[in-house]
Assembly symmetry: C2
Homo-oligomer: 362 residues x 2
Amino acid sequence: MQLNKEQVLQALSNVEEPDLKKDLVTLNMIQDIHIEGNRLSFSVILTTPACPLKGLIENACRNAISHFISPAVEVSINMTSRVTTQKNTGVPGVKNIIAVASGKGGVGKSTVAANLALGLAATGAKVGLIDADIYGPSVPIMFGLEGAKPQASQVNGKTRIEPIEKYGIKLLSIGFFTDPNQPVPWRGPMVSSAVKQLFNDADWGELDYLVVDLPPGTGDIHITVTQSFPITGAVIVTTPQNVALADAKKGIGMLMMDAINVPILGIIENMSYFTPAELPENKYYIFGEGGGVKLANMINAPFLGEIPMVKSISESGDAGKPVVLTEDGILSKAFLHLAERVAQQISVYNAKATDLQDVINR
Amino acid sequence: MQLNKEQVLQALSNVEEPDLKKDLVTLNMIQDIHIEGNRLSFSVILTTPACPLKGLIENACRNAISHFISPAVEVSINMTSRVTTQKNTGVPGVKNIIAVASGKGGVGKSTVAANLALGLAATGAKVGLIDADIYGPSVPIMFGLEGAKPQASQVNGKTRIEPIEKYGIKLLSIGFFTDPNQPVPWRGPMVSSAVKQLFNDADWGELDYLVVDLPPGTGDIHITVTQSFPITGAVIVTTPQNVALADAKKGIGMLMMDAINVPILGIIENMSYFTPAELPENKYYIFGEGGGVKLANMINAPFLGEIPMVKSISESGDAGKPVVLTEDGILSKAFLHLAERVAQQISVYNAKATDLQDVINR
């Protein structure tokens, strides 16, 4: 038997990318085919390292070679990725901007933003995080960076701010530039200009995902950010009670306005229930049950999961090490799952929005 | 024995108002003395109907008459009140403005504001509530007033908005003027002008306390409200975790700035712990323990109490009937206690800030 490239591509054209609904060959995802006798190696270029279907796709490739060519072929597959993009984000080198928004404050938006960013980075993606919550920045405490000051340098006569790196991601918080013990009684225009600098004047380098922790509400920062930087999509955080859902709906309403038009990647419900260690079977739905799913159905967006109330979330946030990095099995799994779902949604949006061949090759 | 007025005043001058640290006669709190044989009646004019020391003061008066005059005197005391004021609040007829603020959102500020207002009203005070949280108004849902539209009339060529009355208090919410399904993507100046109208253009009538539910943060609304309407004092709501405390500190810092100078009436800690019905002895400090007390000590303000996480709080809020009005013993007691403590603090501040004789007589 003499293996050839055409045979391989023919066989792999039977494998469909489940999210993008096209076969891997059409999607230009198969590259670097090498053949030596009956030994075959190739790369599968996924659209995100956080692809939850990685194992499934790899298996399907092996099965296709075995079935359509021969079980005797020794297959070695390099599962890799190149994160897609669809539009100019307005920030050089940044492929996708993910807004984390909530409508209501205190629903755990910053916790979700931090753990989402770290979850994406854990899969191998290059990730940045902007904490744009000017009146209540959380990143300095959550990452144990109180008092940290980003370095600034002059490049071609312009100021460049160096994001701070911690736990493998790049960080900027409005809190790095204000005194934590002083209030920030700033009116809108001052706030807008400060937030814009976090995007424009920082040296983000190459990023697959830049996660932006927006403040609650639908005010100056939201208008400025969404109008200045095309957002790839938004993750909406809510808690289950009606008053939170009402605010979340308004936040979503703003993002969906024609002039703004940010795709909703999905809804995540925080503080869903509490389980005491002594009663591991019991779930106490203190803030009500099923609100997140209801909201997701209402706006026809994916429901990305529920995060229980666990002491370790606020403890780890207070201790400067977000929970996704800790040993807490349930929570770190929940946030890694969230990161995969969000990355998947972005891949799908990017594929829909652009000519896919072009996307993969960028 | 022939009783006379001087004897009575002499006897009662031995009774001290425990908060104001002066005797009732000096404070001009004893009025309407009537004597008929050995029957004596008089009124004690407290500085708030919510006075938690009402019973204690009444007892002390009876003891003083018995001890300094004679046990044979038949005493009838009318415990009443006239709420004090100290400065022009900028809203005609309104004696005191109480701001409820938090720094961080989602800590239960609106729940506290609504239940505080109703708790004050339950003691007999005349109370109004302004929901100034433009991006996330909660009053329409919490009071079961979705879709309600306040009436507007023309008085002397100026528009007068009629607050809506429910459960014995007068209400205005920015949410009555916006579509609950539409976002409010307003920049600062528009927000400030809308909030000012809730104070200036409404027919509040005579109010002892006007409670203002401020949005989270330290932005346009805070600057506008504190600069336009002298606030009697602020109640700060926090949850126990560090990230919430950090934001609360900033909110407090803003209120204490020289240019703003709002007295802090105290700190209330919400979501302090959870107790499952099956384990009534257990308190689960999900968000950490003792943060509220720590903050109160740090800024040298009274700690006004802790509110546990109980499902009925969010349920009753969602159902349009705040929990202080429900049968939940622990919570309605906690909020009534809060109302008393706040009213007490205001009396003390008013007494300190002005010539007290003058205050009582106003």
